[in-house]
Symmetry: C2
Subunit: 184 residues, 2 copies
């Protein structure tokens, strides 16, 4: 019997990834989507869209449960404009996370925006906050995961709704519970 | 005048990346190395070696300071065997990070081992701990960054030894201090 997952604390989070290069960095953006999902984000908007990547992530959600999806975002400005909540742009040039964390934690809904190599300058103006998860170059995957970890903590164990697979943690080796179709 | 960086708390950390595919995933392994560096790891051993990647990371350390390096590891078993400290293998099948964190924090030296798609089964036996940073698939970049963030906190601001560049955090836009050669 696997416990259902408890609801996490903290704001509801979506991620917007700008400047994805389909074909060039599928693995990096896949890791970004999976980290956002694993720490409990609701969705990742992807600009430009990449249907193949979105469908690979759908397959992960079918297997491991939950409703996380990668949604196409041809117009990233529209996603930012229409987001009903705080917009946090993650950039090593921004203000330290330590300083801004209380404000982020108080927001009911957050959009975390991460760019690729070239970030449009206007993003710095459109964001409510420009946040540095460390003021050195590293990785948008690390930045999103650490920010979400600080905000919401590590994902609670237990099955997500609809999960076919659940890992049973072990000191050595692998143990996975696979549910048959049609069983709760 | 930029403060020198204060020493971080927690164990001294090295990372060992197994199953790198030169040519296939340079960006993912680059992000892993940069995240390890940014959170204060001393070095990343890379198996199989990739001289081009190591030299790109050297360039980052010349620019941003500190002594982080990517070291070639043709024989990953030798790196694990010769490591004078705890060996923590990061895998979604392992024991929850929350449970093991006190043990990790008490170790003076840690080697964090992350695999690629295929992890040799014997790694589960050779590690002192198999640690799950969340029991779902995501990213070795996220796993290393979050574990180091929990262990040592976010990197302190201020210049690293030898840094030519230091970011001055800003609410909007970019501000970088570039030192001339020969100036402290």
């Amino acid at each position: 019997m696997i416990r259902p997952r408890r609801k996490a604390r903290g704001p509801t989070v979506s991620v917007l990834r700008i400047g994805h290069r389909p074909g060039r960095d599928p693995r990096l953006t896949t890791h970004l989507a999976l980290a956002a999902r694993a720490w409990g984000a609701e969705r990742m908007f992807l600009n430009p869209p990449d249907a193949e990547l979105a469908s690979r992530i759908d397959a992960v959600s079918r297997e491991w449960g939950g409703s996380f999806r990668v949604e196409p975002a041809s117009d990233w400005r529209a996603v930012v404009r229409e987001h009903a909540g705080g917009v946090a742009h993650l950039t090593m040039y921004g203000e330290p996370l330590d300083r801004l964390l209380p404000k982020l934690a108080a927001a009911p809904r957050l959009l975390l925006v991460v760019g690729g190599a070239k970030v449009p300058a206007e993003l710095y103006r459109r964001a409510d906050w420009n946040i540095a998860v460390g003021s050195e170059p590293h990785s948008e995957v690390a930045a999103v995961a650490v920010l979400m970890d600080r905000l919401r903590g590590i994902p609670k164990r237990g099955a997500r709704p609809g999960a076919r697979r659940v890992i049973l943690p072990q000191p050595r080796g692998k143990r996975v519970l696979v549910r048959r179709a049609g069983r709760p």
